[in-house]
Structures are given as C-alpha cells and as structure tokens.
C-alpha cells in the first residue's frame, strides 16, 4: 500500500527537469514545478505548448523522456501497475473535452468509477454519492440525460463531478473554461474554488483564460517553448516585462 502524504515542505507534486518529445517535436524542455498542499496552481500558455502533455505525465498517461515527476513523494514512472492504479485514485483528471462516456447516461457515467473502485458500496450508498456530487456541481436535474444531450458547460461540470466522486486529493483541470461564455466560465471558476474548500484538493488548472487564472490561481506559471518563463502570483507574473507575457495579456483585452 502506498502512502499519500505531503512532503516536508508541504509539497504534493514536485517536478524536476522534465523533458518530453514526440519524435522530432520537443514539447517539454526542462520543466520544474512544486505544487503545495491545497494550492491552486495555474499553468498558462499558448495552444500546443504542451500543457496537456504536462498533466498527462503527472497522471502517468505518458512517460517522460527524462526528469522526475513525484506525486506524494512517489516517482510516477517507477510505480508498478497496481501502485499506479492506487495513485490514480488520488488524482482527478478533468479532460479538455470532458471525455464523458457517450454510451452511458449521466448517472452511469458517475456510477462507473464507483462500481469499479468502491465495490463494497451498496446500491443505495452509490445512489447517494452520485446525487451528492451532482448536487455539488449543480446539475442534479440532468441525472438521466445522455452526454450528447448536454451543453458544453454542462459536460464540463459533469466531467468534474465524475472525477470528484472518487474523492481525489489532487485535481487536474485541463482547460475547464475553454469554449464557454463568460458567465458559465465564472460559474466553473467558482466551482473550482468551491471544490477546494469542500474536498481540500490540491489542483493544477490549465488554461489560457486570464479571468480563470486570476480567480482560481494562488500561483500562476507561464509555459512557453517547453519551459516555464515565469512563476509567481498572478500580479507578479503579469507585472513582468517579458514580451511573451505582455502579448498574452494585451491581445486578450484588445478593443
């Protein structure tokens, strides 16, 4: 059995000198970061800079070429199959496109991880946790709908609910607000903060939405050409004079 405790500095995820290429395409080129307990860590960056690759490395969906990814002090690529499964129960991964199971209703989507990972639960307990978590994301009324009948924002929230149901200690959000209107985006931002309050999660939030970064992030890091060019609070990062950061900011609020 693995243990899941924060490190002595309070770090939950620690990445050092991470490299990852696909064939000739260098995606991550020496990334290091620390995420501490109950922190919301925002990763900003342009499309195609390897933000999704970064969190896939954290959850063990991809393996690094070199460098170290430690979650709760465990080197992810060194875990065996069963240890990795154990670790993954502590990590909630909310996919960029929600990745809801098309052939299952909302209820079945949420029951699915429970049926496979919490076999001791009775039908009634399962029903209760499904309803509780749907209520937490404010979508109890969609319980019998199919994913294809939901809007993009609803799908995102159901995706988040599906990861919350196994009570993870870490949440990885891949572009939780992309493609949503400002009001729905704000609802999702609030949900992310609420999740931290209610479930005491440590989160990495990937986004290129500055409002999302500002409202949810305790710490913000800007990824560019495979490296973090700046880390700090939102204000610290955007006070910087680096062209790449200024561009990000100026194009956003152009009128």
């Amino acid at each position: 059995m693995l243990e899941f405790n924060k490190g002595k500095d309070g770090e939950v995820i620690r990445i050092r000198d991470l490299y990852k290429s696909f064939g000739d395409l260098k995606v991550l080129d020496g990334v290091s970061l620390d995420v501490y307990d109950r922190e919301n860590f925002v990763v900003l960056g342009r499309s195609g800079t390897g933000k999704s690759v970064l969190i896939k490395l954290i959850s063990g969906l991809l393996t690094p070429d070199s460098g170290s990814v430690k979650v709760f002090g465990h080197e992810v690529s060194a875990l065996n199959k069963y240890e990795l499964m154990e670790l993954r129960l502590q990590i909630g991964f909310s996919f960029q496109n929600s990745a809801l199971y098309d052939s299952m209703s909302v209820r079945e989507n949420l029951e699915f991880p429970l049926e496979h990972n919490a076999r001791h639960l009775t039908r009634k307990q399962m029903k209760q946790s499904v309803e509780a978590v749907l209520d937490a994301v404010g979508l109890l009324q969609t319980i019998n709908q199919m994913p294809s009948e939901l809007s993009g924002g609803q799908r995102k929230r159901i995706g988040i609910a599906r990861t919350l149901i196994i009570r993870p200690k870490i949440m990885l959000y891949d572009e939780p607000t992309s493609g949503l209107d400002p009001i729905t985006s704000m609802e999702i931002n609030n949900l992310i903060n609420e999740v931290r309050e209610r479930f005491n999660t440590t989160s990495i939030i990937i986004t290129h939405d500055l409002t999302c970064a500002k409202t949810t992030g305790d710490k913000v890091a800007m990824l560019s050409n495979g490296k973090f060019i700046k880390q700090g609070t939102f204000e610290e990062v955007f006070k910087d004079n680096d062209e790449r950061i200024k561009q990000f900011y100026e194009y956003k609020f152009i009128d």
Binding site: S21, L61, D65, F95, A99, D102, P113, H116
Partner: protein
C-alpha cells in the same frame, strides 16, 4: 530519442512499420489470455455485448442464410439431375451448408456488421479520450472494453452459426419441397445421413476462431485509432478488411486440418 539523430530503419520505413504493427497486434492479442482469467470479471458487460452482437446481426444473418439455402439448392439441382442423382440433393446441400457455408456466411456478415461497429465505437472512444479517462480513474480499459467484446463474439458467432445453418437448411428444404414434393422428415433424414460428428465439431471450432478474430481485430483497430474522426472511419473500415482476410486464411488452414483428421 534525441531530435537530431536521423531515424534509422532496419529495412525500409514501410516494411519496418509492417513488422512493428504485427508485433503490437500479437502483444495486444496475447494480453487477452492474460487478462481474461484475472478477476474482477465483467459478467454484466459480457452479457450486454453478447446481446449487442446477436441483436445487431440476427436479421441480416437470417435473411442471408435463408437465401443461401434456396439459391445453393436451386443451382445444384441441374448438375445432379444430369446424372440422375437428384435424390442426393438433400445430403449434398447439407454437407455444403454445415461444413462450409454456415460458418463462412456468419463470419463474413458479422465482420461487416459487428467488427466494423467495434472498430468505430472503440475508435471514437479512443480519439475523444474516453479510454484515457477510464485509465486515469483506475479502470483497466482493456479488461472492460476488449476482453468483454472478444468474449462476446467468441461465444455468439458459434451460436449465430447454428442459427444460420438452421435457416439455410429450411431454405433448402422449401426449395426441395417445392420441386420434388419431399416431406420434411424424408428431407432431413436424407440430409443428415452424410453428416458426421466431425463436420459439426469442426464448424463449431471454426466459428469460435472466426468469432475471436472478429472481436480481436475490431478492438485492436479501434484501440489504435488516431487522428480524430477520420481515424475512426479508417479503424472501422480496416477492421472489416483485415478480419475478412484473416477469416479466409483461417478457413484454408482449418479445412486442411479437418481433412487430415477425416
């Protein structure tokens, strides 16, 4: 894998890709035998998939089997009557249907209907990251998706084969009855006179092999789909082509084995 070193190929890019494809397909197939006996078992999903396989192909198989029976009987009659051997018609038809037609027709129809569907279904789950989503929630997608589907086709194709054989024999009977006024009892006694246990047994074995092939190829192609929606179509298409090709290869092989045992 550094960015600068040029890619080296053992023979050529195409040949290398072909062999690495065969290797990964073999690993994918062997994994089935490793995972199928390991609990937890997904009984409910296997039943659901069995139902899907049967339900999806039943109508088409009934129609094709029936027509095959009628047409084959009709086409065989002239050659037999040339030798005045019309009375052999029932046993000739039975041999053809039970030894060859029923397993082949069933397998080909199902690879078109079921194999392509599995390729498309798993392919779209792959490209929309649903398979990754299972993986990150500690669910073994191979076990849940592949093992259950391959079991379902391996169980259901033999069952469907029996059904095809039955329907085709009924078609043959109707044709014989209409032309020679043979009674049902006479027809079936004559028909099964020349059928041995080995015939039935080898057809069952063949169907099991075909069923396994259809499920495995469909799942393999789906699991390895790439490049968005375009890849889904390609997965479905190549699942059908490859499984039909393999079915014919297996047919040739198994016929040799049966003849050797006869």
């Amino acid at each position: 894998m550094s960015a600068k070193s040029p890619r080296k190929f053992l023979i050529s890019k195409k040949v290398d890709a072909f062999f690495s494809d065969i290797t990964s397909a073999s690993i994918f197939t062997l994994r089935f035998f490793k995972e199928v006996f390991r609990p937890p078992y997904e009984f409910r999903e296997v039943i659901k998939q069995c139902y899907q396989v049967g339900y999806r192909s039943l109508f088409l198989i009934a129609l094709t089997g029936f027509i095959t029976g009628i047409v084959f009987t009709k086409q065989s009659r002239p050659s037999l009557s040339e030798f005045g051997a019309q009375s052999w018609l029932p046993s000739l038809v039975a041999i053809a249907i039970i030894r060859a037609l029923a397993p082949l027709v069933t397998a080909l129809i199902c690879s078109g209907k079921v194999g392509s569907n599995m390729g498309a279904e798993l392919g779209s789950m792959k490209v929309t990251e649903q398979i990754d989503a299972m993986e990150v929630s500690s669910i073994n997608p191979y076990k849940f998706l592949v093992v259950t589907r391959v079991l379902a086709t391996t169980i259901m194709i033999p069952v469907l084969m029996c059904f095809t054989g039955f329907v085709a024999m009924m078609g043959a009977y109707l044709n014989v009855h209409a032309n020679e006024q043979t009674s049902m009892t006479t027809f079936f006694i004559a028909a099964f006179d020349k059928i041995s246990f080995l015939d039935v047994f080898s057809s069952l074995v063949k169907s099991i092999v075909y069923g396994f092939t259809i499920g495995m190829v469909g799942c393999y192609k789906g699991f390895n789909a790439r490049n968005g929606t375009e890849g889904v179509g390609r997965a479905a298409n190549s699942a059908v082509v490859l499984s039909m090709f393999l079915i014919f290869m297996e047919e040739i092989l198994l016929v040799q084995v049966t003849n050797y045992l006869r």
